[in-house]
Amino acid sequence: MEKPPPPSDEYATPVEVIEAMAALAKADEARLWNAALRLTRDMRRRDGADCHRALYHEVARLILGGNRRWPKQRVPFPKFYYMTMRNVAGKWRKRYEARREAGIVLVCEATRVGRDGSVWNEAENASRDDVRPEDDLYFRRVVSALRSAVDGHAVRERALEWMFTERDAMTLEGVSLESDIPLAALKAAVTWIRREFTKLRAAEVAHG
């Protein structure tokens, strides 16, 4: 017997999207603020402007322009906004890697529309003048330092492995069931890793 087709999504109109933006609760604003900071933590722009602000704008434009459509009955708006931010930041990161290999460091992109209607992408105007060769080693140093930091602590080791390799395939609850480690201990380990990462990041910035 054939499965019935899934219920079709009803997508929000631009006016409904704007209404959802205007109705964002304070707690959701704080969540999106912190999430954007984390997604763009190691990104920077040549003009010194904040990448997370560019991310808010880029995502808003994509959703309002219909490039990303909000299935309003299925997904709460803050969650949908976050998932789109995550996706866009991931693309920026991938392009960053490609550019970095070509000697370009600008990461953060934003689509711009000129008064004459011309469209360009800021990152395409990136210069090769800002190359920092140490960037190539940064991510390797961080991954290696985190592995050393959790070494010998079974719960933190498991939590870090999950964050490094399994995050999209398994929930933390799943890891808890599979490994017989209490969920609260795993959550505490994730928090510890985040703090350790923040410290490593601060040390990197301090060293220029």
Partner: protein, 145 residues
Amino acid sequence: MAEEDAKQAYDRLILSLADEVMEMSDEELLATGEPMPEGISVKEMLLEAAREHPDWKLYVMKKEREAQLAKLPAARARIPRTAEGRRSLLERLLALRPDFGDLVPAVQYREFKDLPDEDVASCLAQLLALAEAEGLDVGDGDVTP
């Protein structure tokens, strides 16, 4: 760890840390999240982008209409819940007092069937307020002279 694996691990770590924020309770967020700087509003940044969109004007008009409706609480309470009920009540009201149609521009210049549902609700609120002022008996979504 191979270079490519390290890159992927690092990217997944970044995503994990961002996901963690979205899964936090309000209390956890308050305790561990970075506080938003004074004067910064994510909502305002999103609306800044929205103001560039052609439908921003439609949004503003809708808000104005809703504000008008909110000023008519007594009449609003009598508006039927369904779009069909509202349209039917407006039709009967106008049949009873055709002169009311001249008082509401949305009705005056358009074919009744062309009125969008939101305009029907707005017109109805205004006309129910008029009906009340003129002593017409307006029951539960019904109108009798």
